[in-house]
């Protein structure tokens, strides 16, 4: 309602009416961030509620210690760490879609860049939060700075994740500047407080040629730097495991294996978000069936790649069946963890590959469903990377209470984990409420080029 009156007013103000200008205006109107509707509020309300439950669970954890979790001396890392690896993995997509495609001169991905960057920023924020949640003494977090030992892979992780966080923020921010200039033109659409905020973060951007060149250069530099940093965050995260002796972690394959998995889950998250935003914000003209077709192809490639690494990771140890790894491998293939293991392999990789190989499978809805399968499969895959290994130590699990032999997360762990997942969705929702989910200026520029 409100939108349409604004539209009329703008159209009236615009003289002389020129076809191109009207088209441009239409694009801007389509892409301006929209106020939450009824469903928007319900969605945000649900997310906030889940976050609050998670915060209450965390309060209990702070008060009573990690004893409220089901982690014990053998399974000393649980779903917090799996969740951390999952978030780090998802955040890698920012570099894939934005940096790799931009540098490769791929233009069709323009409408997806901001989605990818927003997901990357939200996920990396919650990766940092969840790692603090996992700490037994979180009040000593600053010890990592004042007593940090550079020899420890955790410190490497702290360094690269912080770096990645800032590069991701900048890579979200710089391409936003031209859009903020547009947003500032539509004061009524923004509302008072948002207008002030836009002015605060972007009023210096005048869109001069000099600024444009500078920004282009900066974005290029960021795109080049984010790729090695992105590889580092996930490689170093894999080294948290691979630098230990334990069966299932003692692998030289781990860095590449994690990176492959990260690209897959990140791409999966992007197609899910694409579908949701397309439906919710009526962006069918901008996120087209062709985008799903192309992302579907990318997903097949990435799923095949990840499957390849999985075969590598499990087939050779299985062939040898070393005594120290026997119980671990049997636990995965046929034992306690078999249902989750085969779920992750089939639903997370094999079914998506089969579906996406068909042309009909690359229509928006099937791609969306495949995206969900990939993301859910990937979450359980991370769980399988962390816990089974810990429950198969070298020396027998003995002289400990019976419940130390198994691990199933407590309600507090589930609540905090769900809270963090809801938190990622909330950050994405808020960011897309504030900023256009599809880069407006870049869309206009491309429209311009194609018109010529």
């Amino acid at each position: 309602m409100e939108n349409s009156t604004i539209k009329e007013k703008i159209v009236k103000d615009m003289l002389p009416t020129d076809a191109a200008a009207i088209r441009e205006e239409k694009i801007i109107q389509d892409l301006l961030p929209q106020r939450f509707g009824k469903w928007g509020y319900i969605w945000v309300g649900i997310l906030v509620a889940i976050c609050l439950v998670g915060m209450f669970a965390y309060y209990r954890q702070l008060r009573y210690g990690l004893a409220v979790t089901s982690m014990r001396d053998y399974a000393s890392w649980g779903i917090y760490i799996s969740n951390f690896v999952f978030f780090v993995a998802i955040s890698l997509v920012g570099s894939l879609i934005t940096a790799v495609f931009r540098l490769a001169g791929v233009h069709w991905s323009t409408p997806l860049t901001r989605i990818a960057e927003v997901i990357a920023v939200a996920a990396i924020i919650f990766a940092s939060i969840i790692i603090i949640v996992d700490m037994g003494s979180p009040e000593r977090f600053y010890f990592l700075v004042i007593y940090g030992r550079v020899q420890s892979p955790i410190i490497w992780d702290v360094i690269v994740i912080t770096t990645y966080f800032f590069i991701s923020i900048l890579l979200l921010y710089y391409p936003l500047l031209p859009d903020i200039k547009i947003l500032l033109r539509y004061k009524e659409n923004a509302g008072k407080r948002l207008y002030k905020f836009y002015g605060f973060i972007g009023s210096f951007w005048k869109g001069t040629h000099k600024q444009y060149l500078l920004s282009k250069k900066a974005i290029n530099v960021l795109c080049i730097t984010i790729i090695p940093v992105a590889f580092s965050i996930h490689t170093v995260t894999s080294w948290l495991f691979a630098t230990t002796y334990r069966p299932g972690w003692d692998s030289t394959n781990f860095g590449a294996y994690f990176i492959a998995g990260a690209f897959l889950v990140g791409a999966g998250a992007v197609v899910v978000a694409m579908y949701v935003f397309r439906k919710a914000d009526h962006l069918e003209k901008y996120i087209t069936e062709d985008h799903f077709e192309k992302m579907g192809r990318i997903l097949v490639l990435l799923a095949l790649l990840y499957l390849y690494f999985n075969v590598n990771e499990f087939l050779t140890p299985y062939f040898k069946m070393k005594e120290s790894e026997r119980a671990y491998l049997n636990g995965l293939f046929t034992g306690d963890f078999a249902p989750v293991f085969w779920f992750a392999i089939l639903v997370g990789m094999i079914f998506p590959i089969i579906i996406l190989l068909f042309k009909k499978g690359r229509k928006p809805l099937p791609v969306f469903i495949v995206g969900i399968m990939v993301v859910v499969g990937a979450w359980f895959k991370r769980y399988l990377i962390v816990t089974p290994t810990l429950l198969h130590p070298f020396l027998p699990m003995h002289d400990v209470p019976a419940n130390y032999h198994h691990y199933f997360p407590s309600w507090e762990e589930w609540a905090i984990t769900m809270g963090s997942l809801a938190g990622v969705c909330l950050v994405i929702t808020v960011l897309t409420r504030i900023f256009p989910i599809i880069p407006i200026q870049e869309t206009l520029n491309e429209q311009h080029e194609t018109a010529k």
């Binding site: 009573y64 210690g65 990690l66 004893a67 979790t69 982690m71 014990r72 001396d73 053998y74 000393s76 890392w77 996992d134 700490m135 037994g136 003494s137 979180p138 000593r140 977090f141 010890f143 990592l144 007593y147 940090g148 030992r149 020899q151 420890s152 892979p153 955790i154 410190i155 702290v158 948290l240 495991f241 630098t243 230990t244 002796y245 334990r246 810990l390 130590p393 070298f394 020396l395 027998p396 699990m397 003995h398 002289d399 400990v400 209470p401 019976a402």
Partner: protein, 310 residues
């Protein structure tokens, strides 16, 4: 009897106080007849007889006595350096173990460990289907290439010059990377607030005593570094009635279980001593003697195993 004890205690106490005066006089330019606030202490007129450091009996006014702690506490940096010139090792003789768990009980008591938390574990081991089962007590291996120390992000766990690996619970952030890194699964975590008596909980933490354990930090066998500093044996060693554990200094090439003393190199050579998971390259300080010519059948330990593992 009681009276006698008391007077002996008083004598020791005053002796220490005299030493305190001597130290205070030697180290500060201040007059020893000042209290902490700097004001002159008025003589009370009541004299106490003391034994001076030179062995003479002297009389001092009571008001000039200052209390000093029982033993000078080891500073944090001394705790990190260790005892100079030593290299501690342990030898565990598997042929003597029948899973009595006296070692475990003594360790748990000495370190105020909570129920269910064991720094010493006694595992029933059997390498293959037709090999003989035996009981294997495990402590921290105090590796010379400690994987736990390598991964610690804040230097909370450290390797000392005397070979002992300790934890500074005032430093530990509870990331549990060391627990994942330790191939011997020796480390335990204080998941909740440890149940401690108020006196124990009020003590300042010492890496050598590992007391008091703190919520959200890692704990493990500390080779009883505090006992070692006093020239005494770790609690597990002295608690074992079968002499399973022998402890000593590699540089002196001697280990003892309290009743017998062995030349370490001969013991390891004669009985073919080995270390656990040698192929990982962690270079443990704990050696095992194989379970040959055993003192007890394996089955004799089974009864005691049930009580711990429900």
């Amino acid at each position: 009897m009681n009276q006698e004890n008391n007077s002996r205690r008083d004598f020791l106490l005053t002796g220490l106080m005299a030493a305190g005066i001597g130290v205070a006089a030697g180290c500060t330019t201040k007059s020893p007849f000042e209290d902490a606030a700097g004001s002159e202490v008025k003589a009370s007129g009541k004299k106490v007889k003391l034994l001076s450091v030179d062995g003479e009996v002297i009389e001092v006014d009571e008001a000039f006595l200052k209390p000093v702690p029982h033993m000078p506490p080891v500073t944090k940096s001394e705790e990190r350096i260790g005892i100079p010139g030593k290299k501690f090792v342990m030898v565990i003789d598997l042929s003597r173990c029948k899973n009595l768990k006296k070692c475990q009980a003594a360790c748990n008591h000495a370190h105020d460990l909570n129920p269910g938390e064991n720094w010493i574990k006694v595992d029933p081991m059997q390498a293959g289907p037709h090999t003989a089962p035996y009981w294997e007590p495990t402590t921290c291996m105090h590796c010379d290439e400690p994987p736990c120390v390598k991964v610690c992000p804040v230097d909370a766990t450290f390797k000392r010059e005397d070979g002992i690996v300790l934890i500074d619970s005032d430093r530990c952030i509870g990331c549990r990377f060391c627990m994942a890194a330790c191939p011997y699964s020796t480390r335990v975590f204080n998941w909740g607030e440890p149940e401690l008596s108020p006196e124990v909980a009020a003590q300042p933490y010492s890496s050598e005593t590992s007391i008091p354990q703190k919520k959200g930090t890692v704990g493990k066998c500390d080779f009883c570094a505090d006992m070692t500093r006093m020239g005494m044996l770790p609690h597990c060693v002295s608690a074992c009635p079968n002499g399973v554990f022998a402890y000593g200094d590699l540089n002196e090439d001697s280990v003892t279980n309290g009743t017998e003393t062995f030349r370490f190199s001969d013991l390891i050579k004669d009985k073919a001593g080995y270390r656990l998971l040698e192929d990982l390259g962690t270079k443990p300080s704990v050696y095992y003697l194989p379970p040959v010519s055993r003192n007890f059948p394996f089955e004799s330990g089974l009864e005691n195993d049930k009580t711990q593992n429900s």
